[in-house]
Subunit: 409 residues, 4 copies
């Protein structure tokens, strides 16, 4: 949710952005069959068709119905495509999203089209209050989040298929990873969190002070080649590197390398959205759980940065080297990873969720999860920010998640 101080862009600008965001979602789905989009590969992931419908439901439920006087396209969709908003009524169980062969993909595309039309008419026709435009802006950012999930959920689905199918052509080969250097910070009072003027989610604020001890932050994420050294050094067989919960996960899940890695005759293969390919040692290590990121850091004699450290030192670094926080979406995820931090996902001081159902957007998940910062190659361009707080449970591996090392100065 935007801060109270944030003034959303004018309706015309938002409509323009609406068109682009909505079109990009369809473009992501374009290479897929109706079958690919119907299936759910695990409870954490959702079918692509469900993402297409849910992002549409968001605009219909929070804008068209209460503010544009619209009638629902189909009253059943309120039940089927509500993700987790208790205040928006009962809903279809998450692990059963993959059973919804009806409405068909065509029906869902029609739903999108009809909601898009209604949105256009409504935005063209009346003067909207700023708080309503703020909800529209939230809906666009919400859809961008689901664009990333479309890619990660799809990748998990395809990885379960023994045919190892490809979704897209491989990205052009990347160059060598730059040598690692360390960026020192002297410690002291810092300020973190969003303070405008642009959009931010409610969990990014309020901006506030934190005290930092002197530390150093690595100039780039850990590469797959560096992580492989940990694997080959027996990192997954030595409990001393691991948090207790992490070691339990290693044993219970039989982890021996990051998700999607596989060793065959001494050669390491990685499943990507371009199919299974040889491990690219200069790409950032990814599909790591927090446990693995933490264990690697301990093995390397370092630690994960806190989110305050990351925001203070890493975010400016990204800009310094000319990188935005949003590398272009690339199917195979060859570059750009979310970076696990040492920080639990908890409210900032004086955090207040938004009023109404969208108040459930972020706050109620502030338990049992760890913060990731940055952005990945699957993140839509322009979606992330230096203050952006991504979060997942420490055992999650299907996101494009890696790490950047920190150490005490």
């Amino acid at each position: 949710m935007p801060d109270a101080v944030h003034v959303p862009p004018p309706a015309a600008a938002l409509l323009d952005r609406f068109e682009r965001v909505r079109a990009r979602t369809l473009a992501l789905a374009e290479p897929l069959s109706a079958e690919d989009m119907a299936v759910q590969s695990m409870p954490d992931a959702s079918p692509v068709k469900w993402h297409l419908a849910h992002t549409t439901w968001f605009f219909e439920t929070f804008l068209l119905l209460p503010h544009a006087g619209a009638a629902p396209v189909d009253p059943a969709y309120g039940y089927l495509f509500n993700s987790y908003y208790e205040a928006a009524g009962p809903r279809h169980a998450r692990p059963k999203r993959g059973l919804l062969t009806r409405p068909s993909l065509a029906d869902v595309l029609d739903y999108r089209s009809r909601v898009d039309g209604a949105m256009r008419r409504w935005l063209a026709g009346t003067q909207q209050a700023p708080e309503v435009l703020a909800l529209l802006e939230l809906g666009l950012n919400h859809e961008e989040q689901h664009q990333e999930l479309i890619l990660t959920d799809l990748k998990h689905l395809l990885s379960e298929n023994p045919l190892k199918p490809a979704y897209a052509a491989p990205a052009a080969a990347e160059g060598k990873a730059p040598a690692l250097s360390w960026h020192p910070h002297p410690g002291g009072l810092a300020e973190i969190g969003h303070a405008g003027p642009g959009f931010a989610f409610d969990n990014e604020g309020p901006r506030h002070r934190v005290w930092l001890e002197p530390f150093e932050l690595a100039s780039r994420p850990v590469t797959a080649g560096e992580y492989l050294e940990f694997v080959l050094d027996g990192g997954y067989r030595d409990p001393r590197h691991w948090l207790s919960d992490g070691w339990a996960a290693v044993q219970a899940q039989g982890w021996a390398a990051p998700a999607y890695w596989r060793e065959e005759g001494g050669r390491w293969l990685v499943f990507t959205l371009s199919g299974e390919r040889p491990l690219a040692p200069d790409a950032p290590a990814c599909h790591l759980s927090h446990y693995e990121a933490d264990a690697y850091a301990r093995w390397a004699g370092c630690r994960l940065p806190t989110e305050a450290e990351w925001e203070t030192v890493a975010a400016p670094l990204w800009r310094q080297v000319g990188q935005a926080l949003h590398p272009p979406p690339a199917a195979g995820f060859p570059a750009g990873v979310w970076e696990w931090t040492a920080s639990a996902y908890l409210p900032y001081p004086r955090f207040r969720p938004a009023e109404g159902a969208v108040g459930e957007y972020n706050g109620k998940f502030m338990s049992g999860q760890m913060v990731l910062r940055g952005a990945s190659c699957a993140t839509p361009a322009g979606h992330s920010r230096p203050t952006y707080r991504n979060f997942f449970p420490p055992g999650a591996r299907w996101q494009v998640s890696g790490l950047r090392l920190a150490r005490d100065a």
Copy 2:
């Protein structure tokens, strides 16, 4: 597997039947979308697309590859579409059949088409040994079994959808259930089991003698209206009616009525392949587990018949009243149910599985299951026989399973 004595029909007749069976499978799939056919709603059920492919794999694996010198259409299909034949090599895990969005439905239809063409060419071209034709006949009966599973698995999938979609128009209303009468049998030595000349599965033989005590068998299955009396009498709340395992299932699963039944404001609704419809009291009760069939019988002061009793008295009854053992497939299952017996699914005396991989067809499942006799409205015409032994675990409810009462004379 056919008995040794059974002489399979000539190749021309089998080819003709091949065309009809294969076409009927496609006809069953015709009203469905690719999405409907891709999804798996529970580990016990399979996607329709998988059924389409697996039945094709059977002909390719057991006939075309070893006997017609064919090359596999796609070597990966041997892994993907093997159901449970250990001797045919490793295979895709059953609960993950629903993750196979590739090969696409179009690919699978092409697979069917190419295998059908090869089968036609092979059957036209050479003289086949009787044991090879016997395998073809087995494959046709195998595909008919999957035709029934296509309907029951699909029904389960659609029932999980809050939209309660219909697959087919409802069947015409049936008349009243005939009054129940009892058919006595004096007991003594009887013979059961298949002895030719037609096709039968290996588990139906050898024909052998059994000793029967005097008993009586009901003239028709229990109707939904009769079963409703048990429900309304608190049958699902009184442990005295139930086997211990059945009572545990009632409590663990929260059963309060047969599968697909639902009470709303005093009215009983039943999910069918024509959508949710009012309970039809004169139709046979179905979607019962063995536990429920057994509990009903005990509540009614009766018992389930053994399969020997059923074969001796019920099978001829069906003929007597002009019913075949194979009512025409009807979407909503308004008539015709498999009838649970009191017999565990165990080998007949001197039972021998077939040689080779098809020996895994029946024998290895002779543990932990109960026999059902008869046929249901979902069974292909001509598929069942008086000696036919269907079998499912006692807790299974997604088949068209009901009961017929028996009592000691």
Copy 3:
């Protein structure tokens, strides 16, 4: 439950037997500490203290309270020590029997003593109706069943202890196993089941006719040495030997040999009630599940006998060679095993459970279990009979269960 025709022994004889049975239970518990008797090692097993109390509860509940006008020793015990009698009211959950550190062992021993005293006074004082004496006889047989469970449940508990403690001194070494021979039977009509005059459980009757095909039965159970050949031949790695459910159990449980067997440096060790000891090749193989017994028989080119075959041929064999059906209890189980049959545990024709709560004794368990015949070294002397039907689920391994081979003639 006794047959209707069975006349129970006079009260004086039953009192004498009561004293002996009750004393033997205490003798079994004598080497154990209160701790040993309090703990439950798995849901299927019960603490020894619970067995001591439950067998006492049986006499109190079914005799003293309804027939002797007694007041309960402690009203709470009716809840705590009811095993599964729904008609006797609610009860403590089975998997939580091991949480009952109170009542203490001393309290339970006092309970036993007070019920014993009341039983003596009651039996001495009045004339009891035959149906009441029949309940007493049932209670004694019931306690004998629990004597066997005390040993098998205790063995499981001690086996979970890394100290591998011993309960009793090892039995004297046995001689060599006799050479295997085959006892033929020509087939035809046979009669099985109990017909008096002595006591039998309700599930052993009524006596009835069965038709047998010609077959042969082995002269003795399979020995541990013979079973070891199956293990060493890779029997646990080849799915062709196994029922489908059995193979699933092998993989899910990681079975590689019978329960309590362990290989160390090429030497096979077996946990016994005398601690861990070298495998005794001439002792009967035991602690086999039905799946393992069945797989061994298939590997050996044979099959398991039906219970009718066993009762017709094996029971007389036992007598012929001077063996009773009840070898003396021996701690380490060096001789005498229950023998899995190919028969599911189902009611005999015209079976009727007893009236009242004791009708739950056997009938409601006639689902999902297989019959074992014979007796084991843990069975109290005189407890078993040629018609005795023991039963356990096919995956159970903590009983003293082995097999005898059969084959078609």
Copy 4:
């Protein structure tokens, strides 16, 4: 682990304290039978006997064996009584601690006695290096932690017994809870964490600065009577009060009130170590999960304090009112609760675990848990400190855990 700067007390003082700590553990066990001490009621809890042995193992393993040249009392104990120290070798699985009926209670008491003797001789005889005395001090604090666990684990065990047995006489009735007032804090830089001179665990340091926003802290914990208002207001039925994980726990576990609370005919009963007793409205609410504490705070329009807020304002409060942080142990827990904070259990800046196996004491658990501050009536006198960090998973309810409200100023 003590800070580097902390100088442990002299050996003579530690020996004196050793005698008192060890004696108090035995005193806690004194009212219990061997049966009570052998049983494990859930995987999170351990048998009292295991606590008696494990605390002894700590001294033997980390002091007597490496530093006093002692031989182990029993080599098997190293396997049986290691809790979680990977560096100390393999160990008995935690959920199976309750299966260890051997060694007997008498054996374990003998183990304690022999280790105590060796400790006395060793401490009397030689000059110990400060780092070794630091380990001794750690062992004493470790044993005090297990003293609290003995009470909480025992309470859980007894609560599972339908007899609702009492461990101790109820404490004398407490007075009225004081009226709630609010203690303001202006915010700014604060220092938290241990800095000597006394003992502290490694996770309490290093002392470091944190920035606080202005806030207020309640003068006392929430009482049972106050919490009951939340229950009666439907707090457990309204998802808006709950974190998402908390609401999932409410539904999955069927929570409707704190652990050990039960409503009967409108009257609220609470299971205590003095048996089941009427709810005492003026006692602090306890046996709350973090989720419940958080939900209550939200319902009350407040929030939980961070651990820095708590340490800055609440710890001095305790002193101010003359309370130590360690109310005397009282069986029924009538007063004194651990207070859940809003802080995840994570390392302080520059935290370093101790070298060697005791480095596993705290650090590896810094994942998935929340910090509790204060002390409870079950905490040994003198054990806690203002900097003390207790921690449990957010769903844990068997500890004496309550809450104190905070709010933004």
